[in-house]
């Protein structure tokens, strides 16, 4: 719950968080080390100084840490935990559904844990989807198309194998497909961050919601074109939002652009925890205004009502969360600070 300076309570559903173990003990090789190092560079580059973490804490944090950062110090009412396996880089996976679910069990009313699968695993991917539905009753998945899998260094959402998996997701009611376009290294002849496969998949699977994390960054322009044509494509603000601190004018231009092309009903807040913590992001976002010249040029506004949608209502809608009922439930189970 974020409380505005005027005392209004804003429901916050953080659409993109992680419970990872990127520690050296879990790294299989140099790629595992470089993966968490890259995340850490995002953290150190875009966080306000007072919110910087030491490397060891960033590599692996505890169940108490995540709860405190998101719900005690942070304004989140709920958080979606994404699964990113990276089994070629990490012994026990980078952020596995089993480990995240065990953590979330302590406060099930606050977490939605999403699963993940790799379509290149063929039959095993289908089995994995069944297993995640039966064991964890997932309603969403996170797809990382840049994941390495043996000789393969990336895949596309419109690969035939992926379509078989999405058909099964649709059948089982796994409606929310979060997509992260990392660099798909091979084939080298393609744009490593190409987002056009989202266009095909979203057209062919109208029942599913396609949430493109980081708004397709570094291909936000291409993403805007796609999102404007597809009713079931959403943009997650992770990575774009932290610019609000270091480069507020860039942020203003990007959010104006996203409001114009993608629209206020299809933009989702995500802190990308633990790369960033939600407290400062939500506070700055609530207090942010698009400068007059940009707002005028683009013909968009970032009103309180729009901010409220972005911070929680839009995600609540696609995850079928009754916000009023949820608020009542959470009021009966206020955040607990563990004795230390």
């Amino acid at each position: 719950m974020y409380i505005t300076p005027e005392g209004k309570e804003i429901f916050v559903l953080d659409g993109h968080t992680h419970y990872w173990d990127g520690s050296p003990e879990n790294q299989t090789n140099i790629h595992g080390k470089q993966f968490i190092d890259c995340f850490y560079a995002y953290h150190t580059n875009l966080s306000p100084k007072e919110h910087l973490w030491e490397k060891a804490r960033f590599e692996k944090y505890s169940e108490d840490n995540i709860y405190r950062d998101l719900f005690v110090d942070g304004p989140n009412d709920m958080a979606i935990i994404q699964t990113t396996v990276l089994s070629d880089f990490y012994e026990n996976g980078f952020s596995s559904i089993e480990r995240s679910s065990a953590m979330a069990e302590r406060h099930p009313e606050r977490f939605i844990v999403n699963g993940s699968f790799d379509p290149r695993d063929g039959e095993k991917a289908l089995e994995q989807i069944h297993y995640m539905k039966e064991t964890f009753d997932i309603t969403g998945v996170k797809m990382y198309t840049a994941e390495w899998n043996g000789a393969s260094k990336g895949w596309a959402l419109n690969d035939p194998q992926a379509y078989k998996c999405f058909e099964l997701c649709d059948k089982l009611g796994i409606k929310n497909i979060h997509v992260h376009k990392g660099p798909t290294i091979i084939p080298l002849s393609k744009d490593a961050f190409d987002v056009h496969d989202v266009d095909y998949a979203a057209t062919d699977f109208q029942n599913l919601n396609w949430i493109v994390e980081h708004c397709g960054q570094p291909r936000i322009d291409d993403f805007c074109w796609i999102a404007t044509q597809e009713t079931n494509v959403y943009g997650g603000l992770a990575v774009v939002l932290p610019f609000i601190h270091s480069r507020p004018r860039y942020f203003a231009e990007m959010i104006a652009e996203l409001l114009w092309w993608v629209g206020e009903d299809k933009i989702l807040f995500g802190s990308d925890y633990a790369i960033w913590t939600p407290q400062w992001l939500v506070e700055k976002f609530w207090n942010f205004q698009i400068p007059d010249d940009i707002a005028e040029e683009r013909g968009v506004q970032l009103t309180d009502a729009i901010k409220e949608k972005i911070l929680g209502l839009n995600a609540a809608k696609i995850y079928n969360i009754d916000v009023e009922a949820k608020k009542k439930q959470l009021a009966g189970a206020p955040v607990q600070i563990a004795a230390e």
Partner: protein
């Protein structure tokens, strides 16, 4: 003394020529982006250039293009006998370095690394984006000079060249815009229209608004990515230390940068 001065001058010459190599994704010189880390010139007229991208995961195909861009720019200097390019700390670094230093042409090396495929479509896609970004700077500068829309869309290259621009961005982009018009063959003489589309079409006065909206989206993305890449390049290998005055960023000590020959089980 004289030799030292000559070497220093040659190093500067190398740095200058590297400014002509752009990151294809951002359409900015790699020297402005601080990607080039070291240049050394030896007595035997050989040159070594080391470059590092903002992350280990930056697009390898663009890393290839930049590595070959560096090679071509440096080898064009009349006194250079041979050169070595080294891309550091990159997931595809060995392949890029072996390829660029083999002395064989780009298309051959690139094809060897991806079952014969070529990069033409991707290069074309990013040239189109670079074109859009440069063209927008010119169009906005003309609009800022209160030129009528009908006049802007029908302007010739000759008239554009004669226009006096004072804004920093328009001043910087004018030669870059003229370069890309010529490179794509969109304008061959001063009588040709200055503002064709990338496909060679004309922009009607009514279409200028929507056209500019699209260019704006491309430019904002490139600027946003440029800001992110600069920031990541700067924070790579820095760590946080929390002292009595709170957190600060400190540089990694040399030995902690990951060794390239680290074990890679299973890969």
């Amino acid at each position: 003394m004289f030799v030292a001065q000559l070497m220093a001058e040659r190093e500067l010459e190398v740095w200058d020529c590297l400014a002509a190599v752009s990151d294809p994704e951002l359409d900015e010189p790699i020297t402005d982006l601080n990607f080039v880390e070291a240049v050394s010139v030896n007595d035997d007229h050989t040159v070594r250039v080391e470059f590092r991208l903002p992350t280990y995961w930056c697009s390898p195909n663009f890393a290839f293009l930049m590595a070959f861009g560096i090679r071509n720019a440096v080898m064009a200097l009349p006194w250079v006998r041979a050169m070595t390019v080294e891309l550091k700390d990159h997931c595809f670094g060995d392949e890029v370095n072996d390829g660029v230093n083999s002395g064989r042409p780009f298309h051959q090396i690139f094809a060897e690394n991806c079952d014969g495929a070529v990069l033409d479509d991707v290069v074309e896609k990013f040239m189109a984006k670079a074109f859009d970004r440069r063209q927008e700077a010119m169009l906005l500068a003309l609009k800022a000079k209160d030129r009528p829309i009908a006049e802007i869309v029908s302007m010739t290259v000759g008239a554009l060249k004669k226009t006096h621009f004072t804004g920093e961005e328009a001043f910087r982009q004018l030669p870059r815009y003229l370069d890309i018009l010529a490179a794509k063959g969109l304008a061959l003489t001063d009588r040709d229209p200055a503002f064709p589309t990338w496909q060679g079409g004309r922009i009607s006065p009514e279409a200028l608004g929507p056209h500019l909206r699209r260019l704006r989206s491309t430019r904002l993305t490139m600027e946003f990515n440029g800001a992110l890449c600069r920031g990541l390049a700067q924070s790579r290998y820095k760590e946080v230390e929390i002292g009595i005055d709170g957190p600060t960023l400190v540089d990694f000590i040399a030995g902690r940068v990951p060794p390239r020959e680290a074990p890679e089980p299973g890969i």
